[in-house]
Amino acid sequence: MFGKLSILRFVSIFVIYILLVGHAPWGAYQAYRQQHLLIMSTREDAPTYPFSKILVKIINQELPEASARAARARTFKRVQSLFSTGQMPLVLLSKKNAKALIKGKGPFKKYGSANAQILYIFGDLVLLVQPDFPNRHAWLITNAIVQAVDKLPGAISPLKVKKITTIHPGTLMVLNGENIPDLK
């Protein structure tokens, strides 16, 4: 569905970034976050971490170029910080906490609201994505999920996801059967 050239483009911006920041240890640490597709979860929302590991396994089977990893934050505060600053543009939260993150309420009240769109839903768990996450990358991840939807416990059907108004445009493109978009 996507050739070697697409994959090269998928990782090329990360490689350039690594070369730019490679000198400073902390910069290289940031680069690690760019090098891998990190699915963030948190200790404070217990079901998210075990499911993130399942999701990572599936994504790596379907899209090995993503080099996905689970990334567990210790607190909601850290989740808000990493997500809202775009350092980690994907986070898995239970529905209640996902709503709270977007509205800046509940456990996120002290830290403010965050813009987010839905990439997929798995039972009570929601995979949120930063709105400025490239359509191309959202397309690739959604496609990987759809290809293995039967292996993901609680994953709702693609048809149901399509009806959600706040889904990421890249996700909608896959579900509409559109071709993979270019990286803008």
């Binding site: 000198h23 902390w26 640490y29 934050a73 850290r78 910080s81």
Partner: protein, 418 residues
């Protein structure tokens, strides 16, 4: 009447006399204790993670007092026995290192020196060693996060992630020092900025996560002058010198009145080199006692350590040693040398008078040995080198091949011990 007096004497007065004779009740120490409050440094009035002379004292102490620091782990993390490598990519490096203090030493002036005697270190029950992406001596070889969780007693550190290995208890403060003065801040900041411009690995002041927030944080009055704690400097700090064991004395030059003594980042054990970037990191209760050396600070370039047989007690009784000379692969420039724009190095297999590359050579051989002969994974071997292998300079005269050796304390293997 006499019978009544005897009764009172035997059953009332004498027992109370004997009770007070318990050694617990006989004390002589004056203690100044800095306890932890809250879960993290940000919750704790006795904790800070940047250096600046305006950071207010958390306590005052006299020379001779027992100063007791309740310290946090180096990363101010929330790792625990069930932590995994997945916990490493989210934590905030802006929180490094949480220090306990500062303590104002009554009578000490700028220009004096402060002798700090390490009296005791009581370890927490848990410690960790990690590989952090982009950090550590072999950061190009080990780019993925990794963690070993240790169970600690004063007998040894053991881990499910490192079966068959017990690391002996040889605790010391990874970071201990005194606050810099205003002239030192400006001088050190300038030299580090020059190095950063030249492409060196420098962490310039960064207010994200900085504490105390009022002074060093995003809206802090001195946010651009609060120095990071990563590099050791003339004020001590993150020296990571394992010979600074209990019983030794470290002498620091004082840069401000009261000196501003602090400590933290206590290591349960560490090899010379701390190659993965971390030792066995833990919280602890550190006790020290200080003495002022009037006027002695003006003669000092750096802190010095005075010890007795501590350095001998740490020596392994059985060891395996690899030797490194400045050899490297063609087409390789190690991360430590990239800032020099040394493209001449690229196609050299042999480098001249270079201890860093010699150390790398010795360490890579040691990792190979641990993998081949002891069945460790490469990550486990790197971690073991960080906590139990000493990099030592052999010689710096036999040009071009200066030697660094890597010495493994074989007694860490349970199979060699009773």
């Amino acid at each position: 009447m006499l019978k009544k007096i005897l009764y009172i004497l035997v059953f009332t007065i004498l027992p109370s006399v004997f009770a007070s004779a318990d050694t617990t009740d006989s004390t002589w120490m004056t203690k100044v204790e800095l306890k932890k409050t809250g879960t993290h440094c940000i919750d704790d009035k006795n904790c800070f993670n940047r250096y600046h002379p305006k950071i207010p004292p958390a306590a005052k102490a006299d020379p001779g007092d027992m100063i007791i620091f309740h310290t946090r782990d180096a990363l101010d993390a929330e790792f625990r026995l069930d932590s995994t490598a997945d916990d490493l990519s989210t934590f905030d490096l802006g929180l490094v290192h949480p220090m306990t203090g500062p303590v104002y030493i009554n009578g000490a002036k700028r220009g004096d020196a402060l002798e700090v005697e390490l009296i005791d270190i009581a370890p927490d029950e848990y410690g960790y060693t990690v590989i952090i992406p982009g950090f550590g001596f072999l950061r190009d070889v080990f780019p993925e996060p990794y963690i070993v969780n240790w169970r600690l007693t004063r007998i040894g550190a053991v881990s499910d992630g490192m079966p068959g290995i017990t690391v002996p208890y040889e605790a010391f403060p990874g970071s201990i020092g005194v606050l810099p003065g205003e002239p030192e801040i400006q001088k050190w900041k300038a030299r580090e900025a020059d190095l950063a411009t030249a492409g060196g690995v420098v962490l310039t002041p960064s207010p994200g996560g900085a504490l105390p927030a009022k002074i060093c944080g995003e809206n802090g009055k001195y946010k651009d002058d609060c120095l990071r704690t990563i590099p050791p400097r003339e004020n001590g700090g993150n020296m990571d010198v394992q010979q600074q064991q209990i019983g030794t004395k470290i002498i620091f030059p004082c840069f401000i009145d009261g000196c501003g003594l602090f400590a933290g980042d206590i290591h349960y054990a560490q090899g010379d080199g701390e190659v993965s970037g971390t030792a066995i990191e833990m919280g602890s209760v550190l006790t020290v006692r200080v003495k002022i050396l009037p006027g002695k600070g003006t003669d000092m370039d750096m802190p010095v350590t005075l010890g007795n047989d501590q350095i001998i007690d740490m020596e392994p009784t059985r060891y395996y040693q690899t030797l490194g000379i400045p050899l490297k692969a063609n087409g390789e420039i190690p991360p430590s040398h990239t800032y020099l724009d040394s493209e001449k190095l690229l196609n050299l297999a042999n480098v001249s008078e270079d201890l860093t590359i010699s150390a790398r050579h010795a360490l890579l051989q040691m990792i190979d040995y641990l993998v081949k002969e002891h069945g460790l994974t490469r990550e486990q071997a790197y971690i073991l080198c960080s906590v139990a292998v000493d990099l030592r300079v052999g010689q710096v005269v036999d040009v071009p091949n200066f030697i660094v050796s890597a010495v493994l304390n074989m007694n860490v293997f349970d199979k060699y011990r009773n």
